[in-house]
């Protein structure tokens, strides 16, 4: 709930025409708030998040029904999309460019933002822009390879990798996403928006010398309520695949660690991300 007003505002500015939101048993007033919004269609469910393959089945179903033939952006409530020139150019300009260059999908790197100091010690008012309290990110400690099965890019690294997965790097969270897709009935996401079928939609990257236009999903996970969320998560065990493996991770988060390092970079807008090579314009001049 605390993120929603800003989240909606962010995507409205980008020119999103309509929101389709699944509310999975929230109890903080989100349901009422969303129901009031004129451009939101809301579905509520009390069913198991895990049994629906972590919500992917719900979303696939909605896209199957309402998304066909349209550009669909699939993001979590803690993800804010930026792309080259996103301050000036609406999403429709981006999708027109993708259409013109014959592409049906668009890739984005998930970039974890975090505060300086313990994660549970920042002041965050409900409805505030999360970027006002989460300033920092890891510049470039990302590892990429191709996924052997789905052919997608498989990027790992970043702050969670650095802090919590040092002893088992192969377990560290996947950071590549393909959130924007011109949907067709036979498409389906596999795990979250990391992988999609058919595999050619995963080809949002160039394997030759060149590059293509890509974006960044600013991940605002590390707001103060992360510690409570982690405690909940430990009990619910609804995380991807092998929940037990993530126990130490949540345990560490509950203790409110300081994720900041002297070499962290302060976020300064989309142009900075381009310069650092976290996203690029490709031929979208």
């Amino acid at each position: 709930m605390s993120r929603l007003p800003h989240w909606l505002a962010h995507y409205r500015t980008l020119g999103v025409a309509h929101f389709l939101i699944v509310d999975n048993g929230s109890d903080d007033g989100s349901t009422g708030y969303l129901a009031e919004q004129p451009d939101v269609s809301l579905w509520t469910t009390g069913a198991s998040y895990k049994a629906a393959r972590f919500g992917v089945d719900w979303l696939t179903c909605l896209q199957f029904r309402y998304g066909v033939g349209r550009w669909c952006l699939t993001v979590d409530a803690d993800e804010l999309l930026v792309y080259p020139g996103s301050d000036e150019r609406p999403l429709s300009a981006l999708t027109a460019h993708l259409d013109r260059t014959g592409r049906a999908s668009f890739g984005a790197l998930m970039l974890d933002l975090y505060p300086r100091g313990p994660v549970n010690a920042v002041d965050f008012a409900s409805g505030q822009d999360p970027l006002e309290v989460l300033h920092w990110f890891d510049g470039d400690n990302y590892r990429a390879k191709r996924h052997p099965v789905f052919g997608n890019l498989w990027i790992q690294g970043g702050v969670r990798d650095r802090m919590f997965f040092g002893s088992q790097p192969e377990r560290s969270p996947t950071l590549n996403k393909t959130p924007l897709v011109k949907w067709r009935r036979r498409y389906a996401y596999v795990t979250s928006t990391h992988q999609i079928l058919p595999p050619n939609l995963n080809e949002v990257f160039d394997t030759g010398e060149g590059d293509r236009v890509s974006g960044v999903l600013l991940h605002t996970k590390f707001l103060p309520n992360i510690t409570e969320k982690s405690a909940e998560e430990l009990v619910r065990k609804q995380h991807f695949e092998n929940s037990d493996l993530y126990q130490p991770y949540y345990q560490a988060l509950i203790e409110g660690p300081d994720l900041w390092a002297p070499t962290s970079i302060r976020y300064a807008g989309s142009e900075q991300l381009e310069r650092l090579g976290l996203m690029t314009r490709g031929d979208w001049a």
Binding site: R89, Q156, G166, T207, D211, R212, S214, D283
Partner: protein
């Protein structure tokens, strides 16, 4: 005398209307062609919308598909109408609905008034143009293209292949030489009417109907028959991407377009409010200067280059080059030193002092990443955890070099380190690798361990280093490699060091005046002999005399040294 505008419109009609009003307000008659794909209701609506503007006419509608004859037919009928209805018009300007005048129309009129007999049309022979797409240059005039390139690419390609094999070539009509160029031109009444009224026009039309993308060649070819003076360039600014599709201009291009001094630009993004507001404003400041599209070339050719070449040494969400296609594995030169820190006791601080570069320890040490000053994290928040590093050892190095662009990195490497990048640095043209082979034996020599353990370690290290040397000496190695044996190196250490530092080409490189402190090698020859006596054959060090102290026993204190 005035300028008439022929405008081809198919979408964003509200923007077209705005531009039409702009032309008309300056006294230019406008003939509009609306694509037949636009439905009747929308069309009627549009006609209503512009009904109040003087000197605006609608021409016969044709169906315009990309690369087909329809666009030429549309241009023909609209031009015909322009010439017939507006006898005052001397120049006819062909524009599209997504074209935007950048300078006051008056400016364009003055410009053309000074050049009353000049036709502005890009027109070049196929032999001389590099910008054809799909490998079809002259063949677009000699083959037939019944299948759509966009919708039925497979059939299009097969049929082209078939015709090539069967040698089914069409004959170009007598008297014309195929030329090509930008679709957007500005022709004089004399030239345009001569083309349209040519008695041979039916022959040409029949021929060009089967040519691929005739809108880029019909007028461009025929103008060569009649024009008295051709300026082979388009007055309309447009930029093309690597597939030959036009770039689109957005609000953020405002300053760029201002600087271009061009009369008209295309294509403009229909929602680029700021562009439309600025350039259709009466108080538009651009005037006088000669159009100079070159000024904005840089940014767009950079985009093309980015798309085709990418940024060297960057692996990211939309760029994951296959091995060998990286256009540079890393983004900047760096130096690798092998054996130096074993031979010299204070090599790292000495090197940092001498060259002013970043000097790391063994980045690939097995127990931790030895960043400069043994920091926990380094540029880009790379962390010193060896497990994370080894999970993708190549990208660790690539990221490190990328994150520190503009500052040369040096690091130590050796057979005690994890060897994942052994081949990658060997193949990287940015790497400068200097090796003292066999120097790894010095720490063993100095250590206080049982000789049987030392012997086993020595055998293993020698095996690893010789494998690494194989990589450095292989035909695939592109790095700048220098290899000395330990024995050779200590003969003339200062010259060797000077050579390495010179190659680093550090800007304010001083003469090497002070030597790093060399380890005490007294008894090292005997140590090697002992290894030999135990059946292990240390050969990478070169020839060390087994008897007593090595010949070149160096003074251990620093001394001034001059190299001439």
């Amino acid at each position: 005398m005035t300028v008439g505008v022929v405008m081809l419109v198919h979408t964003a009609l509200h923007r077209a209307e705005q531009v039409i009003r702009h032309w008309s307000a300056a006294g230019c008659p406008v003939v509009i062609h609306v694509d037949k794909n636009v439905d009747r209701a929308t069309y009627d609506d549009f006609v209503q919308q512009v009904a109040d503007i003087p000197d605006v006419k609608f021409s016969k509608r044709h169906r315009c598909e990309w690369g087909t004859w329809g666009i030429v037919a549309a241009t023909q009928s609209a031009s015909r109408m322009m010439l017939d209805h507006f006898p005052d018009v001397r120049h006819v300007y062909l524009a599209s609905g997504s074209c935007l005048p950048l300078r006051p129309v008056k400016d364009l009129m003055d410009y053309l008034k000074k050049r009353p007999r000049t036709d502005f049309i890009e027109s070049a022979t196929t032999a001389d143009v590099p910008w054809t797409q799909g490998g079809l240059d002259f063949e677009r005039f000699t083959l037939r293209f019944p299948f759509s390139w966009r919708k039925h690419r497979f059939l299009f390609d097969r049929y082209v292949e078939f015709q090539r094999r069967m040698k089914m070539y069409r004959r170009v009509p007598d008297g014309i030489v195929p030329h090509m160029g930008s679709q957007w031109w500005c022709l004089t009444r004399q030239t345009l009417s001569a083309i349209l009224e040519d008695p041979d026009r039916p022959t040409y039309d029949v021929y060009f109907k089967r040519v691929w993308i005739p809108d880029e060649s019909y007028f461009q070819t025929l103008v060569r028959l009649y024009s008295q003076h051709i300026e082979s360039r388009s007055l309309t600014l447009s930029k093309f991407d690597y597939q030959g599709k036009p770039h689109i201009f957005y609000d953020d291009h405002l300053q760029l377009l201002r600087r271009s001094d061009c009369f008209v630009a295309r294509k403009i993004w229909p929602d680029a409010n700021r562009l439309y507001d600025n350039f259709l404003n009466e108080k538009n400041p651009l005037k006088g200067a000669e159009p100079n599209p070159g000024k904005i070339d840089r940014i767009f050719s950079k985009a093309v280059e980015r798309r085709t070449r990418g940024r060297a040494g960057l692996f990211m969400q939309s760029r994951l080059p296959r091995p060998g296609h990286e256009n540079g594995f890393t983004s900047a030169p760096y130096s690798v030193f092998e054996g130096f820190s074993d031979l010299f006791e204070d090599f790292e601080p000495w090197l940092a002092r001498m060259t002013g570069t970043r000097v790391h320890g063994h980045l690939y040490a097995k127990d931790r990443v030895e960043f400069e000053g043994r920091q926990k994290t380094f540029s880009g928040a790379l962390c010193d955890n060896p497990k994370l590093r080894d999970h993708h050892a190549q990208l660790f190095l690539v990221n490190l070099i990328w994150n520190t662009r503009g500052e040369r990195q040096c690091f130590q490497f050796g057979p005690t380190d994890s060897q994942f990048i052994s081949w990658d640095i060997a193949k990287d043209a940015n790497a400068q690798i200097s090796v003292i082979t066999g120097a790894w034996a010095i720490p063993l020599f100095q250590s206080n361990r049982n000789f049987s353990d030392i012997r086993a370690d020595a055998a293993e290290l020698q095996r690893i280093e010789s494998e690494h040397l194989n990589a450095l000496r292989s035909p695939w190695a592109k790095a700048k490699v220098r290899i000395w044996t330990l024995a050779d190196f200590i003969e003339t250490p200062m010259e060797a060091l000077q050579t390495v530092l010179d190659e680093m080409a550090a800007k304010n490189l001083r003469r090497v005046t002070e030597a790093p402190k060399m380890a005490d090698l007294t008894g090292f020859g005997q140590f090697l002999q002992n290894l030999k006596n135990q059946g292990m054959h240390p050969y990478l060090m070169g020839d060390f005399p087994a008897d007593n102290a090595p010949v070149a026993q160096r003074p251990t204190r620093r001394k001034p040294y001059l190299v001439r």
